[in-house]
Symmetry: D2
Subunit: 373 residues, 4 copies
C-alpha cells in the first residue's frame, strides 16, 4: 500500500502532529538542558525511538525528526563544553531521520524534517551564510527522503523567506512556521504581514509554533486566517503551540523564554489533557488543519488532540484500545471510575495546588508591555 | 564485583528510590488509566524497560518492579472489560522482575518487589485470604531473587502486619510503607501508633508512600521519627511521596484520590525539580535514608533527589555528565545560560500560569476536615 | 417603652452584634495604627458616633463602646510618643459610653462595654494587678449603666476567669469571649477545656472573637458547642470573627497578627457581603445566637448578617428600605440590575483581581504548624 | 486669606483629589446600590459630610460634590421604585455643594462640581437634549460658586466636547475626564485621538477616571501624554482611577462593570495603601498633576497619595499627626511595631487569603478581547 502524502491527508481532514522532543528528552535524561542539542540520536537511539513511538501510539500522523539545534554552531558548544565525543552534524541529521522513519512504520505515519533559524542570520543578518546553511540541511533531508520539509521556529519573516526559497527548490511539500505572539515578528512586523508573506513564499502549509501558549496561539491563528482571507490566500494552516500556559509572555518577543521560570520551573504551567481537547476543537473550528504541539507537549497531550478529532479524522489513535478519552470505559469498580465522562472533565476547573504561588510572573525587561505596578 | 545489599547501602548513606511507574506509563500510552494494571510488562516491555532505565540514569539505587495492581482481582477487570488477551498474574510478576533486573544492570542497582493491599481484606477484612495472597506473591518474588521485599501503599496497619509476617519468613530485607496523612490510617489509628507497630513487625525499613504530597509526608515522617525515638526503635526510614502538590488532601483518608482533579487534572500540581531538591534535603535532615517518589515523580524529579545528595552519597547519577543540577555548566551563550545557578532557582517563586484557576480544591465528602464556607 | 434586655432578646431569636471600630476608624483617619487607642471619642466624637450609627442602620442590636485599648498602659504610649494632649482613662471610657448610648437611641439598641486583657497579666502573670484593672473598668461601665458587660479578646483562659469573677459582682448580664484558633488558648489549653471553663464562670454568653476568620471561627464554635453539650452546659453562644480571610493563620497562637500583611496589607482578604451571609447562616445553624464581627467587619458586613436572618429575627435593618439584600428591587434599567438576585451572588466565585499575588502567606515563626517547603 | 485657585496650585505642585463617594456611602448604608443616586445629601447630610471630612483629613486638596447621578433621569428611578419622598434635582445639587463647601473649610480645600454623561445622549445621541442638561447643571454649580467644573466619567468623546463647550462659557477653571481603557472610547475612538480632542476643548485639565484600575489607567495616561506631546499640547493631567484591581477588564468598553463581581463582590480587589503609594509615585513621574481616586478609593487610599507626595507638595495631610505613612513612629512595644517602615511594606507581596478563588474573572461578552479557552 502506498502511503498518502501530507497534502492528500490534509485535503481529507485534520492531521495530527507530534509533541515535544527536546524538553521531554531533557527530563528523561538524554538532552542537555538549555543547549537542547540532539546528540541522543546517536548516543541513546532507543530513548529517542521510544518517544517517537509514544507519539505514534498517541495518534500523531507525522513524526518530526529530532534535529532541533542540529546545526554547526549549536553543536560546536559540545566541544566548547569539553564534551568527549562530538558528532558530525550530518551524522546527527541522518540518524534523526532514520529513527523517525523507524517509528513511523508502526502506524503508517509520515516523517517531517525541521529546519531552524540560522545563528549567522540572527547575529549578523548574514543572508548568504543563512541560505547556505538551509541549502545544506535541505539536501540531507531530501536525500533521506522525508515526506515534508518544515522551516519552523523562525522569529524573523525575512529569514524565513530565504529558507522557504531553498526548500521550494525540491520536489517536496513545504511548510513554514513562525513563533508569533501579539507583537508580531521580533522586528515588529505585524502578524498580518507575516501571514501574507509566509503564504507568498509558496509554502503548502503555514502557521505558528512554540514560545506562546494555546490561547495566544489561537488568537494569532485567527489573525492569520483573517489576513489571508482578505488577500484571497488559502494555504493549509498549522499550529503547534507550547504545552505550558504563559499568558504573561503573550507580549514578549521571545515568548516564554523571557519568563523567570524558563526552563526548570515550568511544571505548574503544564496543560491538562482536557485543556488540549478544547484547544484541538477551537483550532479545528478556526480552520487549522495541521494540529500538533511544541515544547511541553507530552504524548498524552497529543492523544487528546487525536481523540478530540476522532470523528473528523474517521479513525482513532492506537492507544484508544486501552485508553479512550476521559477514562471512558473504566470499570466502575476502579477508583475514580465515576469520573469517567467527558462532561465531568469539561466542567472541572482544576486547582493549582499551590497556595503560595502567584498566577503570573513578570517577564524580563524585553517584554513589549509596560506594567507600572 | 559483588553488589552491596540494601542494608549495607543504607548504613553508608542515603539511598535513592525510583519514581512513578503507573502514572507515567499511562501518560506514555501503556497503562490503563484508573485501573493501573501492569500488563505492559508483557505487551510493551521496551516501554517499561525504557522508563526503568531513565530512573537508573537519574540516579535511582533501587528499581521497583512494575507490579502495582498485579493481583488476581485487579487483573480480572481486564476480562470484565472485554480485553482480548488476559494474562496470568504469575507471568506478569515474573516479567516485571525480569525487566527491573535488566535495567538495574546499567548502574549496579538493586531491585525491589512491591506488594500492595489485598482487595479481600479491604472489602471483608478477610485475614486468611489476604495472608494467602501475600504468601503467593512473596513466593514468586523470592524465586525471582529480588533484593528487597516491600509491602507498600497500605492504608490499614493491621493488614500491613499480616503482610510483614509473611515477608519476614524469607531471608530477605523487608520494608513496609503506609499511605499516611494527618488522619492516621483509614481506621483512625494514629500516625504514632502506626509508626510503632510498623517498626515492631521487624521490618528493616519503614515509612510512607503515595497519596500525600512532599510537605504532608515530611510532617508525617517527623511524627514517625519522634514516636520511634520515644520507643527506642530505630529502623531505617523511607519516604516516597506523591509528585503532586495537594495540601487540600492532607486530611483526607484517601489522600489525593479524593480531589476532583484525580486522575486527569493533576498537571498543575506537578513539582518542579527545585522543590524536589528541597524535599530531599529536608527528608535527609529528618533522618530519612531511603528517599524516592511515588505517583507523579518523573525521572527529572528522581535526578533532583540524587543530585541534592551527591555529596552525602559520594557519587553522582549517570545523567550528571550532561545535566548537572541547576543547569550548571550550560554555556553562557545558550538561551537561559545566565540562570544556571543554584541560587537563582532556590529563590524563585514559580508562577502557575493559571489566572483562572484557584489554588485549592474542595475534596469529596470523605475529608476529615470540615470547611464551613 | 421599656427596652428588652439582651437575655430576653436572645431568648427570642438571634441578636446581631456590631462590627469593627479600631480598624475602620484607623482607615478613616481617627485611630492610631498599631496602637489602636480610642482617644477619638474625645477628639473626634462625631466620627465615632457616625460609625456607631452606621452599625445601627445596618441592623446591629448591640453597640459596643469604642473602648478597646482604653487602659492605663496602652494610653500611656500616647505620652511616650510625645502626643500633646493625653487623656484620662476614665474620661475616655465615659465618652465612649456616651457616644454608644447616643447612637443606640436610633433603633432601640443596647450598649455593651468591653474589657480587654491586662498587660500586667500578660507580662508578669500578675493576677492581683489584673483583677484591679478589671474592677476599676467594670465600675465605670456600671456607673454608665451599660446593658451588657463583655470580657473579650482574651488569649488565656485563666485571666478571663479572673475578669469574669469581677464582672459577675454586678447585677448585669455578662459575656466572655476568647480569641481561639485551632491551637486552643495561648498556653495550649484546648478549645474544649476553654469552652467548659468559660461556661463555668457563670457568664450568660460565651464565645469567640477576633484574630481568626469566619471559617476557622465556625470550626471552633462547633468544638465549643460539642464540648458544652457533653458537659450539659448551655450558655448562649456568641461569635464575632475577623472580617478578613486568613486560613494561613488558623494554627497561629496570635492569629492574623502573625501574618506578614498585618495590619496594612489586609485589604485583599476582606470579605464580600455574600460570604458574610453564608457565615451568618452557618453560625445560626450551629446554635450561635449572638452574631457580630470584629476587626475588618464593616457596616455592609453587619447588614449582611442582619439581612440573612430577617426571617428568624422577625425584622429587618433600617437600611433595608433603600438596600435590600442582593440588590433586590434595583431597577432593571440600572447598571447591574440583572444581577439583583440571591442566586446570582450565592453561585459566584469572586476572583481576587491579583494575578501576581499568592493565595497564602507564611506566618511568622510563632505558628504552631510546621511547613517544610 | 484668599484661597489659591486650582490652577495656581497645579502650577506649584501635585494636587490631591478625593476618593469614592457612591461606593463608600453605599457600604455605609446611605446610597442605593446599583442606582447610586445621592439623595443622602438631603436625607443623611451628616453621613455625607463625615465622608467629605475624612477625605480632607486624608489630605485631599479638592472635595467633589456628591452629585453623581444627580440628573433628572436617574433620580426618576426613585419614583419608579416607589420611593416615598423624591427630591428636586436642583435641591440635591445645591445640598451637595453646601456639604462639600462645609467640609472644605477644615483645611482650606477647593470644591469641584462634577457633571456626568447624559442618558439622552447615550440612548438617542440627542445632542440638543444633552447640551441642555449640561447647561442647566453648570448654571447651578456656578451659582453655588464652586472652584472647579469637572465633566467626568464620559465614555464618548463627542458628548464630552458638547459638555466642555457649555462649561467653557463660564469664567471657571474646567476639567474634562473620560473612562478610558485599552479600547479607546466606547465607539472605538483611540485613546490618542480622545487625548487630543479633550485638550482641544480648551479645558485646563484633562484625564481619566473610573472603570479601570491603577495599572491600566497609568498605561492610558502614558499614551495620552505621548499623544499630547506630539501635538504640542500641554494641559494639566488628572487621573482618578478605580480603587479595585481589575486587569481582566482592561479591554472591556465598560471596564469593571462587565466583571461578574460588580458591584457586590469586589472586596478582594481592593487596593492596599502601599499599592496606592506606588501608583501616586508612578503617576507623578508620568507628569500627572491632579491625582485622586474614583469608586473604591477610601480615605486611607487618599492618605497614601498625599503622604507619598509630602515632599513634592511641601506639606502633609492633617491625619499625619497621628498616622504617618507606613506606621512610622508606632511604638516598638505596640503589636506590629517592628513593621513600621517603608521598606517592609514596599517589599511585601500581599497574599489574597483566598485559596479557593481564581485571580481573574471572565468578563461578560462585551469585552473586546477574545479568549479561546
Amino acid at each position: 500500500m502506498e502511503k498518502k502524502g501530507i497534502l492528500e491527508r490534509l485535503a481529507q481532514g485534520p492531521v495530527v502532529g507530534d509533541g515535544s522532543m527536546c524538553f521531554i528528552l531533557e527530563r528523561r535524561g538524554y538532552v542537555r538542558p538549555m543547549l537542547w542539542t540532539p546528540e541522543a540520536v546517536l548516543e541513546h537511539p532507543e530513548a529517542v525511538l521510544q518517544l517517537h513511538r509514544e507519539y505514534v501510539r498517541a495518534g500523531a500522523d507525522v513524526i518530526q525528526t529530532a534535529s532541533y539545534s542540529a546545526n554547526e554552531e549549536r553543536l560546536s558548544y559540545l566541544n566548547s563544553d569539553n564534551v568527549e565525543v562530538a558528532h558530525l552534524t550530518s551524522n546527527i541529521n541522518e540518524a534523526a531521520c532514520s529513527l523517525a522513519r523507524k517509528a513511523a512504520e508502526d502506524n503508517n505515519c509520515l516523517i517531517c524534517a525541521g529546519l531552524s533559524p540560522s545563528p549567522e542570520y540572527r547575529e549578523n543578518a548574514d543572508e548568504v551564510a543563512a541560505r547556505n546553511q538551509f541549502r545544506k540541511q535541505a539536501q540531507i533531508f531530501v536525500e533521506q527522503n522525508v515526506d515534508l520539509l518544515l522551516a519552523e521556529f523562525f522569529g524573523q519573516i525575512r529569514e524565513l523567506e530565504i529558507c522557504a526559497e531553498e526548500l521550494k527548490k525540491h520536489n517536496k511539500p513545504v511548510a513554514v512556521s513562525m513563533r508569533l505572539g501579539l507583537h508580531g515578528d521580533t522586528n515588529g512586523v505585524s502578524v498580518e504581514e507575516c501571514a501574507i508573506r509566509m503564504a507568498k513564499t509558496g509554502a503548502d502549509i503555514i502557521g505558528t509554533n512554540c514560545c506562546f501558549d494555546i490561547n495566544t496561539s489561537l488568537k494569532i491563528m485567527e489573525k492569520i486566517k483573517t489576513a489571508l482571507d482578505e488577500e484571497g490566500l488559502s494555504p493549509y494552516l498549522m499550529c503547534q503551540p507550547l504545552g505550558f500556559h504563559c499568558p504573561d509572555a503573550e507580549s514578549c518577543p521571545m515568548g516564554y523564554t523571557e519568563l523567570p521560570e524558563y526552563p526548570f520551573g515550568l511544571e505548574p504551567r503544564s496543560m491538562t489533557r482536557m485543556e488540549v481537547h478544547k484547544f484541538a476543537r477551537a483550532a479545528f473550528d478556526l480552520g487549522v488543519r495541521y494540529i500538533g504541539g511544541c515544547c511541553g507537549f507530552e504524548p498524552h497531550h497529543i492523544r487528546a488532540i487525536a481523540q478530540e478529532l476522532n470523528k473528523e479524522r474517521g479513525k482513532s489513535p492506537p492507544v484508544e484500545k486501552i485508553a479512550p478519552a476521559f477514562g471512558k470505559g473504566a470499570s466502575k469498580s476502579a477508583v475514580g471510575g465515576e469520573r469517567a465522562s467527558r462532561e465531568y472533565w469539561y466542567n472541572l476547573t482544576t486547582a493549582t495546588g499551590r497556595p503560595y504561588s502567584p498566577a503570573l510572573s513578570k517577564p524580563f525587561v524585553r517584554s513589549d508591555e509596560k506594567r507600572f505596578l
